[in-house]
């Protein structure tokens, strides 16, 4: 590698936080006009390293070089001025403003001697930029009316509008649907073709290999290797990431299925806008079975799960648990009956962000044994419980007194999964249980779900990861537009068939699952 053509060079970057070394002597060289993936598990120090490059953190020691010049960034402003832009995992957009207003925020073109914003110039600038890079955005749309994919493009445009040559993307695919991920990669290619440099943070091997030219792997804050994407393999990368071999295949022992735990009958649910999101669905989950639901996000999965878990009232139909109707039961009654729930949005529904893990650990069981004693909460017992979850599910940092907000997304997820699975449930409703979680922990969560299955519990699994939902499920329902397209045998179905089903088409021959197509579902 020649030094002259490096867009970014980080040398011996060390970043210490009180009690933690987040980055330990890390080197990184990113060639101009390439896509560079920064790969590692949750907590490997990827985001910290990039926050150092973006000026959000100052390195404890080390040198930053951009375009061959040594730089010190005191704030993101300095980094932006040097042509470095960052797109955070959580978008920094104002929902109530338009696309163009967001892109220009803080850099508004003025007229009338600086008195007013020149809205026409803003629009033109945005249109010009998005045409140059082949982005499809409507400058006058409100952010709250756009999809996540569009919001991400707006974030990228925002950085480009400020003259960024180096773009850092933090877990850009975490919130996207498979189709949007493809669109994003096309955008990245277009950007590098025009001379921009991309660094993207990910913990997904496949993505790094697919979209990047070079890959740098971090583990425990240390640089463990840099490889060219076309000269490596998934196994090599996985080994670098976790330092041991990972079984990427899911092994599923045979289990005898028992009675129906959950049965959903002719259920119809409307969404927040009163539009029917789930139409007349019926299916059941039996003991010792993982029932998977695949589908592109936004096809009614959320509303279905909310109706089952008691967060949304159905329009019609019924939900039965252990043969008894729970259609109108409260959340508490469902939890007490033995229904655990791993919510889609951990920060919104899974945790109270300002609470520590001891408090978060008893959410949902605060009124029950062994945590409640005579109207008071037994904090000793609660602490023991939280510490057990932290320990077993490898939540880092291993500190039950840490506030939920201080944990990284993947560790928050591990804690929520741990709390729910430790309820000793009859049925687990798990939506995206491994979203944002590193490979090692994914494996662990999968194993725990399979343990429950082996133990004769039911699992309703909703996931947008096809290999996960195929690997774990005994029967797999594909949802499209509020409807179940088919209930298939996940071992037999091909990816093409799934793709067609998810897109709302019915291939001629599909491998229906045994006892598939429960009554009410039209073939």
């Amino acid at each position: 590698m020649t030094d002259t053509d490096a867009a970014v060079r980080l040398e011996s970057i060390t970043k210490r936080f009180p009690g933690v070394v987040a980055n330990d002597d890390v080197d990184l060289t990113v060639e101009r006009g390439t896509v560079h993936a920064l790969l590692g598990e949750n907590g490997a120090g990827k985001t910290t390293l990039m926050n150092v490059l973006y000026g959000l953190y100052q390195p404890t020691s080390g040198r930053i070089e951009v375009d061959g010049e040594t730089r010190t960034f005191d704030s993101p402003r300095d980094a932006i001025d040097a042509g470095v832009g960052m797109i955070h995992q959580h978008f920094m957009l104002v929902d109530t403003m338009t696309v163009a207003e967001n892109i220009a925020l803080g850099n508004e073109p003025r007229k009338y001697g600086g008195l007013a914003v020149d809205q026409d110039a803003t629009r033109e600038g945005v249109v010009e930029l998005s045409e140059r890079y082949g982005f499809d955005v409507d400058p006058d749309q409100l952010i709250e009316e756009t999809s996540v994919g569009v919001q991400q493009r707006v974030e990228i445009l925002k950085a480009l509008y400020r003259g960024a040559d180096v773009l850092i993307l933090d877990e850009p695919t975490a919130v996207l649907t498979p189709q949007e991920v493809e669109d994003l990669f096309a955008v990245l290619e277009e950007l590098t073709d025009q001379g921009k440099t991309i660094i993207f943070i990910t913990h997904k091997l496949g993505e790094a290999m697919h979209a990047a030219d070079d890959i740098t792997v971090l583990r425990d804050g240390k640089h463990v290797g840099s490889v060219a994407a076309d000269e490596t393999s998934r196994e090599e990368l996985a080994e670098l990431m976790v330092g041991r071999e990972v079984v990427l295949e899911i092994e599923k022992p045979d289990v005898d299925v028992g009675e129906e735990v959950l049965s959903v009958d002719s259920l119809s649910v409307t969404d927040d806008r009163d539009v029917e999101a789930v139409s007349d669905l019926s299916f059941s989950v039996r003991e010792g079975e993982v029932f998977g639901i695949a589908g592109v996000d936004g096809n009614g999965q959320s509303e279905l799960v909310e109706a089952i878990t008691g967060l949304r009232n159905p329009e019609s139909g019924s939900v039965a648990f252990d043969g008894e109707s729970i259609t109108w039961d409260s959340r508490r009654e469902r939890i007490d009956a033995g229904m655990a729930y791993v919510p889609e949005d951990r920060q919104e529904r899974g945790l109270v962000m300002e609470f520590d893990l001891v408090e978060n650990g008893i959410l949902g069981s605060q009124h029950a044994d062994p945590f409640a004693s005579g109207g008071r909460i037994d904090w000793g017992e609660s602490r023991v419980h939280a510490e057990r979850v932290v320990e077993e599910y490898d939540v880092r940092p291993p500190d039950a007194d840490a506030d939920a907000v201080s944990l990284s997304g993947g560790n928050q997820q591990k804690f929520v999964v741990g709390r729910e699975l430790e309820r000793d449930p009859r049925l687990v409703v798990a939506t995206h249980p491994t979203r944002g979680v590193d490979v090692g922990s994914q494996e662990f969560i999968h194993d725990r779900l399979l343990d429950l299955r082996a133990d004769g519990r039911g699992v309703l699994l909703v996931s947008s990861k096809l290999d996960e939902v195929r690997g774990l499920s005994d029967r797999l329902a594909v949802m499209h537009d509020g409807d179940v397209m088919a209930v298939v045998d996940p071992d037999e179905v091909t990816e093409e068939q799934l793709g067609l089903l998810m897109a709302g088409e019915r291939p001629e021959e599909i491998p229906h699952a045994d006892s598939a197509a429960p009554e009410g579902v039209e073939p």
């Binding site: 104002v94 109530t96 403003m97 925020l105 803080g106 007013a116």
Partner: protein, 395 residues
């Protein structure tokens, strides 16, 4: 019988749909204002003999009612505008009432000392801005709970102003000072001076023309009041328009909105969130200051007993801008509605048509806001309102 009520309810709901569904906030406020007024009139006609209803119509269409409405609107509208800026930036300024009180007293005191109502107005603005600055420091710098700090602002002013009045004037009620003149009072010298010095040309005829026009406009039924109001009323019109423009068309306005919706987005875009919030809260102090001083200087005396002469106008201002969904123009029309109800009630009592207990009328804004919010539920709080912002190293 039941089918009759059914048809009635159906036609009622159809009318409701026609009037409200698919309309903008502003239209709804106007429609609601019209309906409330109409219902009030019909109600009066039903419950009282013809004469009273006829009197009521006379009162409603009287130009003095509009004059009183405009006069009563001034403090509420200014405070509401101030509240919009503060809350849009993410700082809920519940202390508007306090800002009005402190400005009212200081306005009188400064007029008394300097002998000029204009210096008095300025003094009121300064006092209110200083108190707002204290509030801003406590909320923004020290991240105090905004509601509690806002209540403190109110309580401080509620204690301080009557106390100062007692020290200076020997009682909770101040001495009388000059009042703000009306356009007619200011008359020819003012208008011609304005034309010559401000507009830069001396023409005799147009001045007389303007004056003639003004005096003939004053003679108009009902709307005549619009042309014979005090300077504070015209200042209010200007302030409403300017506030709307600032919020929607300037970069500062956008930063204010972004600061209240997603301060982190504004921060990462390189704009200092704290600075924007300080500016917005100080602006709310300036605006409320004009309102409070104008209120006192319209009467020429500060009354400090009980809830003081401000008497809840700062809280009605909060209701008004919520009612207007943070739109300065919507807030203005809500203000006119509330002030209009008050003015009508005052005129009715003055003419001894029939007695509506004043406390009852004063509850109308609060009842109305609950009904309207429950009915439409479209007031949208800025997402980050009430949250202090820490630009330190997050995540």
């Amino acid at each position: 019988m039941s089918s009759a009520t059914e048809t009635a309810s159906r036609s009622l709901s159809r009318t409701y749909d026609y009037l409200f569904v698919g309309r903008s906030r502003l239209q709804q406020v106007v429609v609601a204002a019209g309906l409330v007024a109409l219902l009030g009139l019909v109600g009066a006609a039903v419950f009282f003999p013809e004469t009273a209803a006829a009197d009521l119509v006379a009162v409603l269409t009287d130009s003095s009612t509009l004059a009183a409405t405009l006069r009563l609107s001034v403090p509420i509208a200014f405070a509401a505008l101030g509240g919009i800026f503060a809350e849009k930036s993410g700082v809920i300024n519940i202390g508007l009432e306090g800002l009005l009180i402190i400005a009212a007293f200081t306005g009188i005191y400064a007029t008394d000392v300097t002998g000029s109502v204009w210096f008095g107005l300025f003094g009121g603005v300064v006092a209110s801005t200083l108190l707002a600055a204290l509030f801003a420091v406590v909320c923004i710098e020290f991240k105090a709970d905004q509601i509690i700090a806002g209540l403190a602002v109110w309580l401080i002013a509620l204690g301080l102003a009557p106390f100062a009045s007692t020290v200076v004037y020997g009682g909770k009620t101040s001495a009388s000072v000059a009042t703000l003149p009306t356009v007619t009072d200011m008359g020819l010298p003012f208008v011609s001076a304005f034309v010559t010095t401000e507009l830069g040309f001396v023409v005799d005829l147009p001045v007389f023309g303007v004056l003639d026009l003004q005096s003939s406009l004053v003679g108009l039924p009902f709307f005549g009041a619009l042309f014979d109001a005090g300077p504070a009323v015209y200042l209010m019109f200007v302030a409403v328009a300017l506030s709307w423009y600032t919020l929607n068309r300037t970069a500062f306005g956008r930063w204010v909105r972004a600061s209240g919706e997603n301060p982190k987005a504004l921060d990462t875009a390189g704009v200092n969130v704290h600075r924007v919030r300080y500016a917005a809260v100080l602006l709310s102090g300036v605006l409320a200051g004009v309102g409070g001083a104008a209120l006192a200087l319209g009467i020429g005396q500060f009354t400090g007993s009980g809830p003081t002469m401000v008497n809840g106008k700062g809280f009605i201002a909060i209701v008004a801008y919520l009612f207007g969904n943070y739109n300065p123009i919507g807030a203005f029309f809500s203000t006119i509605l509330f002030a209009g109800l008050d003015a009508t009630q005052l005129t009715l009592q003055a003419r001894d048509v029939f007695q509506v207990p004043r406390p009852l009328v004063r509850t109308i804004p609060y009842v109305a806001v609950i009904v309207v919010l429950a009915l439409f539920g479209r007031t949208r709080l800025p997402s980050a309102a009430g949250d202090s912002y820490d630009s330190g190293e997050g995540e």
